[in-house]
């Protein structure tokens, strides 16, 4: 027998398909992966430390920079924790607007997921289509909050500004377009035999494994556990809307793709209900000029696009948080990468970390 040995392939930090500056050390046996070790920290900015030296209000724009393709969800999570800490009651209209924005951003983020998965599998055309449609959502955000990426729209106590009537009209117009462009992705991606064969049965994770690796969000729902904090915790006004939680069966790449694909429809459903029932009233609660939450600590979580986004804030009664810890879903989900890649091919590793949908801004915090 000839002697063989494995070799190490460093994917990244400068690699076309690591979604930013992730480095994955693949230990390869020919084309088969023996181990996949994610190495991160290339985008570490110390946001937890930065938040300790900012007041609560000033901290909100920093959360934009965490998961920069779904900033609204981050704003939402952070503001909810501070409100819980300080005991601020948010007006109903503000809650509705928040839900609308968070769900729009979920759609935008899932569109990016579909696009990046497509381009990682070599279908660059599919990516361009998803980015074309995401642009409409960004235009909506631009209209309502004046930014296309770092929104800083959801504030402590409400939202920064009320939605305009033309926003509502455009939002409805967008919702009408959702089934059309999703059908187009169905035709060019989901229906494509090459695409399905690349994803089906690859990188399976069972519910037990997903739980063991602490995975959340679409990754665990793909395994078949309907663990959606919008239903489980029922925070904000989510219990008032009817929507389904899509779950997969096997927990392979295809299920992860399908769960997100169907979640777009569910999000659209929530937005439509919220727009229909948008109550009149204030968009911002009365919050004191200088916010001093009482001494204490709160851990609160929201269902971000990528999973359970938790903020743990310890307050010492001053204007600045004593300690902020952010439980970033992508960071924790990355633990599953090794198990997902083991025994697969190089081509599957790309699909696997694309299907976890990690975002380096959030992984490295």
């Amino acid at each position: 027998m000839p002697k063989t040995e494995t070799f190490i392939l460093n994917m990244g930090p400068q690699h076309p398909s690591t979604h930013g500056v992730l480095q994955v050390q693949l230990e390869l046996d020919g084309e088969n992966i023996v181990h996949a070790k994610p190495i991160m920290g290339y985008l570490h900015r110390g946001i937890e430390k930065l938040l300790e030296s900012r007041t609560y209000v000033q901290g909100v724009p920093y959360t934009d920079r965490l998961d920069y393709v779904s900033s609204m969800n981050n704003n939402f999570g952070f503001c909810r924790v501070v409100e819980e800490l300080a005991g601020i009651e948010v007006p109903r209209r503000a809650e509705y607007i928040r839900v609308i924005m968070a769900e729009f951003n979920r759609i935008a983020s899932h569109l990016i997921f579909i696009g990046t998965l497509a381009i990682d599998l070599g279908a660059s055309t599919g990516m361009l289509y998803t980015f074309r449609d995401r642009e409409d959502i960004l235009d909506l955000f631009n209209l309502v909050c004046g930014a296309r990426m770092t929104f800083h729209y959801i504030r402590i106590g409400g939202v920064a500004a009320d939605v305009q009537p033309e926003f509502v009209a455009q939002a409805y117009a967008f919702l009408d377009k959702v089934p059309h462009f999703m059908e187009e992705y169905n035709q060019i991606l989901s229906g494509n035999e090459i695409f399905t064969r690349r994803l089906k049965g690859v990188s399976q994770l069972s519910v037990e494994e997903s739980l063991a690796y602490n995975m959340t969000g679409p990754n665990i729902r793909a395994a078949g556990l309907p663990y959606d904090l919008r239903k489980v915790d029922g925070y904000s006004v989510y219990p008032e809307f009817s929507f389904a939680v899509p779950v997969g069966k096997k927990g392979d790449n295809w299920d992860r793709y399908q769960v997100r694909f169907r979640e777009i429809f569910e999000s659209a459903k929530i937005i439509r209900q919220a727009l229909d029932g948008l109550p009149e009233g204030e968009f911002m609660a009365k919050i004191p000029k200088v916010l001093r939450p009482p001494k204490g600590e709160v851990y609160s979580r929201t269902e971000s696009t990528r999973g359970e986004l938790g903020f743990y804030i310890v307050s010492d009664g001053s204007t600045k948080p004593y300690r902020v810890h952010i439980r970033r879903p992508s960071f924790v989900n990355m633990q599953g990468l090794d198990a997902m890649c083991r025994g697969m091919l190089i081509g599957d590793s790309v699909a696997a970390f694309s299907s976890i949908d990690p975002l380096m801004g959030e992984v490295d915090c």
Binding site: Q58, P61, Y62, T125, V144, G146, H152, G191, N192, E193
Partner: protein, 139 residues
């Protein structure tokens, strides 16, 4: 199966091959800026400014460097208002905190520059500086 999906996909690209394109030829055509757009330089209306410095207090990243002088009537006047764009998060907190609505964005978003020094913008430079220069510093 058997390539039906492939044909469907090819039909989609064929349709788009002849269809309308969505490219925006940027420098020739520009996206319309919305009313609430935050970006570009900060523009200070010096006649409205009361020199309270609330904007720089609210700034999360100390992107505003202000020089305020107080005249003989104990009235505060803004002498210099520097917007350091390299630090700015474009979070809009300064604009919102202004009690007299003296601040606004000029929406000139093409602000990339070759040198770091160019990223400091004097927000009072585009004013008719008459209102500013009349004031003598209090001795």
């Amino acid at each position: 199966m058997f390539g039906k999906g492939l044909i469907t996909g090819m039909r989609v690209t064929w349709k788009h091959f002849w269809g309308k394109k969505v490219t925006f030829c940027y420098p020739e055509e520009k996206l319309p800026m919305t009313e609430r757009f935050r970006g570009g330089h900060l523009a200070l209306n010096a006649t409205k400014c009361i020199g309270c410095k609330l904007c720089s207090l609210n700034c999360p990243n100390r992107a505003l460097e202000l020089t305020v002088t107080v005249d003989e009537n104990k009235k505060r006047h803004m002498q210099q208002y520097l917007h350091i764009m390299g630090r700015c998060l474009y979070c809009n907190l300064c604009v919102e905190s202004c009690p007299t609505q003296a601040l606004s964005w000029d929406k000139e978003y093409a602000i990339s520059s070759w040198y770091k020094e160019d990223m400091v913008h004097d927000s009072m430079s585009d004013q008719t500086s008459a209102a500013v220069s009349e004031v003598k510093p209090h001795e």
